[in-house]
């Protein structure tokens, strides 16, 4: 069981928290919280098996958030002294005072149990920051060389991203949490160039980003050998594949693709701050407004979606959120009906929900926590079919694998996605790839056409590091699990025709 990095524990978080919280109390704030974070990061990029760039970063800083006479105030600093902690608390109160002129909604937070001094560490074997850089570069070079050695591959790009995130939180109610988590992502992409015809095409690995350590790249959790050996074949087949004929098709969607559709059309649409309008000028709102809770038919009866911040290796998983709330698991869609949202303490109080389900998150010490996405996952059917059995049930359709382009409107109705591979299905069998495919739908129509979900043997936790929201912009990592799925009659576009060619 990993333990919290002693170098983080050596930072003077407790005296700084005492200085900040006592200053905020003296200045009359009704609530104050203090958060000190250290985020270590490393990106390594290889281009054609040669190192293109490496960047190793470490951010340390702290923030004080107050509710002062009913108005938020937030300030952040980087000098780890008690004087600076007190000064930042004063600035948070000053920000609240300037902001009071434009505030007409008295801020109150839902009550939460106090957790006096708790610790949480994510599940991993090898801290990637303990692995020498040369070993990482050598492994990525080996993986790249395997792609480049294959016929038809002209370029190989490799990206490795790693994070070690430590958070210390203390508030005036008495909750104190100390946490650590690790996440890692590796992408290998092969490019084929047909210069004579002025054409190029790419094929990327589908290994999802995960809350695991370096063992993810070397151990048995993802079959890199098989995937790297097949990427060049798939790419060569894609280069020669026929262009799709636009129209309606049945789709069998692999979890390597569907996780992103879940993210955009369910994950964001069931964020309560969006539903209430707090993101209206930027990330957008939601068609799934609060008045529809318990009534909106989101999809077919086989659709069951759960939110959680607890699943092992999940990117949004943590013990306690950035408001000191213990994380939970809850239903968002039950038997096709909207039954839950993702919340934080302020919204839970505002909407009379009793308590928060623990979705407050700030991506760095310098940013204010906002409601961010839990791991939102589509549930498999116990004893449900395999991917092959779902494909066997399709006469004319497409099997969609891997994510690529994505876009959805500001109210989460109209979306359009592409993928890594689109396999044509005829008479229940795969007969080869298609090119130039995009699928487009309106959220509730799409989920309403969900005919079947696969069994637990088809379930995979996908995800992303780069979910954006809020102003100033914040980035969050989140996982989405899905089984293989069967949708009937989905609109397929031909992207070349869309471009007017």
């Amino acid at each position: 069981m990993p333990e919290i990095d002693p170098a983080f524990l050596a930072l003077p978080m407790r005296p700084l928290a005492d200085a900040a919280l006592s200053r905020a109390r003296e200045l009359g704030s009704e609530h104050a919280d203090f958060r000190l974070e250290r985020i270590r990061s490393q990106d390594i990029n290889l281009r054609d098996a040669k190192l293109e760039g490496s960047h190793t970063g470490e951010v340390v800083g702290f923030a004080v958030r107050v509710v002062h006479q009913g108005t938020w105030g937030f300030a952040a600093g980087v000098d780890l002294t008690t004087d600076e902690a007190a000064r930042v608390a004063e600035r948070a109160v000053a920000v609240a005072k300037v902001s009071a002129a434009v505030n007409s909604e008295r801020i109150e937070l839902a009550d939460e149990p106090v957790h006096p001094d708790v610790t949480w560490v994510s599940s991993y074997d090898v801290n990637p920051f303990d692995v020498p850089d040369r070993d990482k570069i050598a492994l990525l070079a080996d993986y790249s060389e395997r792609l480049l050695a294959a016929d038809g591959v002209d370029h190989a790009d490799a990206i490795l991203r790693q994070f070690l995130e430590n958070k210390f939180y203390a508030d005036t109610a008495g909750t104190v949490t100390t946490q650590q988590r690790i996440r890692l992502e590796a992408d290998l992409e092969a490019t084929a160039v047909d210069a004579a015809h002025g054409q190029f095409e790419t094929m990327r690995t589908c290994a999802p980003p995960v809350g695991r350590g370096w063992e993810y790249l070397t151990g048995g959790t993802w079959d890199w050998d098989t995937e790297l050996s097949r990427v060049p074949e798939w790419l060569a087949e894609k280069m020669k594949a026929p262009s799709v004929q636009s129209g309606r098709y049945d789709l069998v969607i692999d979890p390597t693709n569907l996780w992103l559709t879940i993210h955009e059309s369910i994950g964001h649409a069931t964020e309560l701050d969006r539903a209430l309008g707090y993101e209206a000028a930027y990330a957008g709102t939601s068609f799934a407004t609060f008045d529809k809770l318990g009534a909106l038919r989101y999809g077919s009866p086989v659709m069951n979606v759960v939110g959680d911040r607890t699943v092992e290796h999940g990117l949004a998983s943590i013990g306690y959120d950035d408001e000191g709330v213990q994380t939970q698991t809850w239903n968002i869609v039950k038997d096709g009906v909207l039954v839950g949202y993702q919340t934080d303490r302020r919204m839970a109080q505002l909407m009379g929900l009793g308590r928060s389900n623990g979705c407050a998150y700030a991506d760095s010490p310098g940013h204010i926590p906002v409601q961010r996405m839990a791991n939102v996952s589509l549930q498999p059917a116990p004893g449900g079919p395999s991917t092959e059995e779902l494909i066997a049930g399709v006469d004319r359709g497409i099997y969609v694998v891997g994510d690529r382009s994505w876009s959805i409107d500001m109210q989460r109705y109209n979306f359009q996605f592409t993928g890594q591979r689109f396999f044509q299905i005829r008479g229940g069998e795969i007969i080869g790839q298609l090119r130039d495919v995009a699928y487009q739908a309106t959220t509730t129509d799409f989920w309403g056409s969900l005919e079947a979900v696969g069994g637990p043997q088809t379930f995979l936790l996908g995800g992303a590091f780069n979910c954006g929201k809020a102003q100033p912009g914040q980035t969050a990592a989140v996982s989405h699990g899905a089984p293989a799925t069967l949708f009937r009659g989905i609109n397929i576009l031909n992207t070349v025709k869309e471009g007017g060619r």
Binding site: F74, V98, S407, G499
Partner: protein, 465 residues
Amino acid sequence: MTSTPQETVERALGLSKADGCVVLATEVAETNLRWAKNTLTTNGEMRSRRVAVISLVNGATGTASAVVERSAVDADALESLVRAAEQAARDAGPAEDAMPLVEPADDHPGSAGWSEGPAGTSVEVFHTFAPELSEAFSRAAAADRLLFGFAEHIVESTFLGTSTGLRLRHDQPTGRLELNAKSPDFSRSAWAGQGTRDFADVDVLALDAALGQRLDWQRNHVELEPGRYETILPPAAVADLMTGLYWTATARDADEGRTVFSKKGGGSRIGERLTDVPITLRSDPWAPGLQCAPFLYTTRSSSDLSVFDNGAPCAAAEWISGGVLANLTTTRSWAQRTGRRPTLQVDNLLLESPDGAGGVDDMVAGTGRGLLLTTLWYIRVLDPQTLLETGLTRDGVYLVEGGEVTAAVNNFRFNESPVDMLARIGGVGRTERTIPREFTDYFTRTAMPALRVHDFNMSTVSKGV
């Protein structure tokens, strides 16, 4: 005791045992207000500091580089940072973009004012804006509309030192206001955005009044089918499309056959006419109101940037000249490998035409039947081969008939290539400062005209508002 950024740069360079070293010390001060439904939602005043050490280590087969960057480095921790960068460089192996570090020159851009402190900002930058915003909330409430939005002011002071003796600084103020007005039922929505260096030029009451007019236009609503429409793109929408084009315009990727700017048969499309309209797309660090760093600083190497180019002057550059693709961003090393001159990425973008005249209103007046957009949203590349992009119209699509706005219409999902689109430009307005609504987190300094585009592909209808 906290060191000044200049002291940090000198000390780190002094500690370096590598064959070459670049140190970037950055001080950031920022403040913001965010609001929704005529009231504040979040706010903040933040300070941060980071120090990046880029070590260069010569080996038998070339020079290696690595970047290690940390925040809030005190004097004691600086040595461990320098050593970590050196170890990372030794682990890295030869860098493909290796070049000699930039040497100081007379009048090197950025060499003035080295010893002065960081510029900074605080929440007080909103001292006149906040009361005006409060007044705007009152007027909006009285007129039955809701205001949403964000105001932000960031001042980033960068101090760059190299082992070759360069000492450069740049203070970059970046401010923006985004204002969104909606009807109480959220069925009507309008947007305005503005880039600013100091908020002195922001008139939020005027912007609110203009949005009120747009919401009034939207009281008459008609549904339109998808299709290819004559479309007027206001400057903010043009800014997003041109920013996407600019980010793709890298020489190396094009030369390798991997982008829309790759030529059939090999090489890049430099020299190819993209449109008969004499538009020029350019960057200029000294463009009035859009001033940005006149020298390059970066902590990342990729196809469009190289850490070896730190301190190199960023010259004004034309990417498209009179409708012809003229330059692609080219690092010093790629320029050397391909026998070109370097054209480094610059942090602003301007689109102009010598014939450009009039604003959106003039363009509407000259339109028989077409669509007037407000902004574009959720823009993603659909097909890199043609730079086909998809996205949504947002916060106001209007039907123009007989030179007048006659109704508001539903939103659309568009599928269009900003490169192919250039050949279908049917009119260019005067260039004015704007911000790209989608990409404004990453790129704010733009000046664009409104464009009239024939046959803009509105692929499907979006019910979203």
